[in-house]
């Protein structure tokens, strides 16, 4: 029936099983204490004039902040998209029996995980200074197939995207590889024994199962990326945090504007958590464990859990 198990005792005859949730007085004391602290913080938030809530409200939907937010979202989505693609590609390469592929993939993750993201971003931003023109062709051997001006190709946005996506790909590569390795070897064998080619087995059998292991850390990565985008201010990209900074450099309302940015980050993170829940639910198909709770269910659970002496009549067991 109920999954609350820690404070449960079973009483009654076999045809009517009552599950009583005894509430410990200690929990009530702790709950009261926490509520008191929360109230104190809320009171402080509302009464401290330095927080200047009217300024916060004034800037919250202002054009520069909303544009910054959109930039942040755009960068997060694109960098994650390419990062996940790169991660999947390099994870499969890492696991390939073909030596050159696995070596290249290993080198990629080694390099991009091993150097600071900030340095990588500055590097891409200054690419034009290092290489004024970009030539595409086979080194030493072939003719140049394509050539272009680095300053025109690597715009601040491109530099930011390149830096974030390449770095993300290296982390996602390890996450995806871990997911693939978590799937029992027998699955691959059963798939190829049924005449599937490796690529099909990967797509239809291995990856869908690996997703259950891949999704939770990927959710972490997305939220991390949301905030990593604030690093791209070094490429003069006015994303959310940098937009707020540009404002308070002018108006000196530092704290209110940082609050504006933080609230937006919290809102987006909350939305992302909900999305993650539904993705996890999707890939939990056929699983043995219960599905994770929705954020809403978690809140409900919190309030029902400590209800004293809640009585549930169990199904009659013949």
């Amino acid at each position: 029936m109920s999954t609350v198990s820690d404070t449960r005792s079973v009483i009654g005859s076999p045809d009517e099983i009552r599950v009583a949730h005894r509430a410990h007085w200690g929990w009530w004391v702790l709950t009261g204490f926490v509520l008191l602290c929360a109230a104190g913080i809320v009171q402080m938030l509302f009464t401290n004039p330095n927080l200047e809530w009217n300024v916060v409200a004034g800037w919250f939907f202002s054009q520069s902040i909303v544009f910054g937010l959109l930039r942040t979202l755009e960068l997060t989505v694109l960098a994650m998209f390419f990062g996940i693609l790169l991660g999947m590609l390099t994870a499969v390469m890492r696991l390939s029996p073909i030596k050159i592929l696995s070596t290249v993939a290993w080198f990629y993750t080694w390099f991009f995980r091993g150097t600071p993201l900030l340095v990588q971003l500055i590097f891409w931003y200054n690419l034009a200074a290092l290489f004024p023109t970009i030539d595409i062709g086979i080194p030493f051997v072939g003719p140049t197939v394509w050539s272009g001006n680095a300053n025109q190709i690597v715009t601040p946005f491109m530099a930011a995207l390149l830096g974030l996506a390449l770095n993300e790909g290296a982390y996602m590569s390890e996450i995806v590889r871990g997911g693939i390795l978590s799937v029992d070897q027998g699955q691959q064998e059963a798939a190829v024994a049924l005449g599937m080619r490796t690529s099909r087995a990967l797509r239809r059998v291995i990856l869908p199962q690996a997703m259950r292991v891949i999704v939770p850390p990927t959710g972490n990565q997305v939220i991390g990326m949301l905030k990593s985008t604030s690093l791209v201010s070094v490429t003069s990209m006015p994303e959310l945090l940098y937009s707020a900074q540009l404002v308070y450099n002018r108006t000196f309302q530092t704290i209110p504007l940082l609050i504006v940015a933080s609230i937006w980050y919290l809102i987006v993170t909350s939305v992302l958590s909900v999305i993650q829940y539904y993705i996890e639910r999707h890939y939990a198909k056929g699983g043995r464990r219960a599905l994770p709770l929705t954020p809403w269910e978690k809140v409900k659970r919190m309030f029902t859990r400590f209800t004293p002496a809640q009585t549930i009549t169990a199904d009659r067991r013949a």
Binding site: Q187, A190, V192, A193, L194, G195, R200, G286, G287, R288
Partner: protein, 267 residues
């Protein structure tokens, strides 16, 4: 709805070889696991392979559909070399596409079932017929339901594998392999992972298939099944075939001391 027809048993007097293994050698590093194994499986034949653990039975079975690369000898299915093609004087591994096509002609049932847990029973069965053989999904579904009826699990079509017992999962795995209409079915200890009370239901299904004339190679420790159903029994030890013949000869009147010793332990 029609139950897929399975090739009839051996036509009297006419021997049709389905699977031929010649001088098969396989090593894992320094360990020589198969030291030259020969066998012939005719159409409609049920061959049981018995032998102590570690004698190379699984490796032999896995070499037959090229789940393992081999180091010597050859495997032929319907006269066609499996896994390799002759290039001058050398064997080279077939490209994946051709390998996959050969594997569709051999069904394999594993000790640990290996159903796809994220797909329903029905999806498990039609996945390869639709995805690999490009069958019409509607027809594939009908065939799958007929096969499920045959293994006694028609009402479980929409369940996920983890909602089924081990015996039921293995029966689904058998239906899944049969859906590819293979020329031969390879079973690697299909009942070894099952609770004792579930072994019977899987063996019953296999018995029915044998009676219908399906060509089967079965690695098993179920001596009762071998005695009752097999057309031939092959005893392996240390990577070689020690003794082979009719089940009554090999199981009830073994000639080789190693066979006698093994049987005295398991019977």
């Amino acid at each position: 709805m029609t139950v897929p027809t399975i090739p009839a048993g051996p036509v009297a007097g006419k021997r049709e070889v389905v699977l031929r293994v010649t001088g098969l050698k396989k090593r894992f590093g320094p360990l020589e696991v198969l030291k030259g194994v020969d066998l012939i499986v005719e159409r409609g034949e049920v061959m049981c392979i018995i032998g102590p653990s570690g004698s190379g039975k699984s490796t032999l079975l896995r070499s037959m559909n090229h789940l393992e690369e081999i180091d010597g000898g050859r495997v032929e299915l319907d006269g066609e070399l499996v896994g390799y093609r002759l290039h001058g004087q050398k064997y080279v591994t077939l490209p994946e596409k051709l390998l996959a096509r050969q594997r569709t002609k051999m069904g394999m049932v594993f000790q640990s079932f290996n159903l796809f847990p994220h797909m329903t029973v029905l999806q498990n069965i039609i996945e390869s017929p639709v995805g690999v053989l490009k069958q019409d999904p509607k027809e594939a579904k009908e065939t799958a339901m007929a096969l499920l009826g045959k293994v006694g699990l028609a009402e479980k079509a929409q369940q996920y594998p983890r909602q089924l017992s081990g015996g039921q999962q293995q029966r689904v795995a058998i239906a899944r392999a049969l859906a590819m209409k293979p020329r031969v079915m390879l079973f690697d200890e299909p009942t070894s992972a099952l609770d004792p009370e579930l072994v019977g239901e899987v063996l019953d299904v296999m018995k029915d298939l044998a009676l219908e004339g399906l060509t089967m190679v079965v690695v098993t420790h179920e001596m009762g099944f071998a005695r009752e159903v097999a057309d031939s029994v092959l005893f392996m030890d240390g990577g070689v075939v020690v003794e082979r013949g009719h089940p009554h000869d090999v199981l009830l009147n073994p000639q080789m001391p190693r066979t006698k010793e093994f049987l005295s332990k398991v019977l």
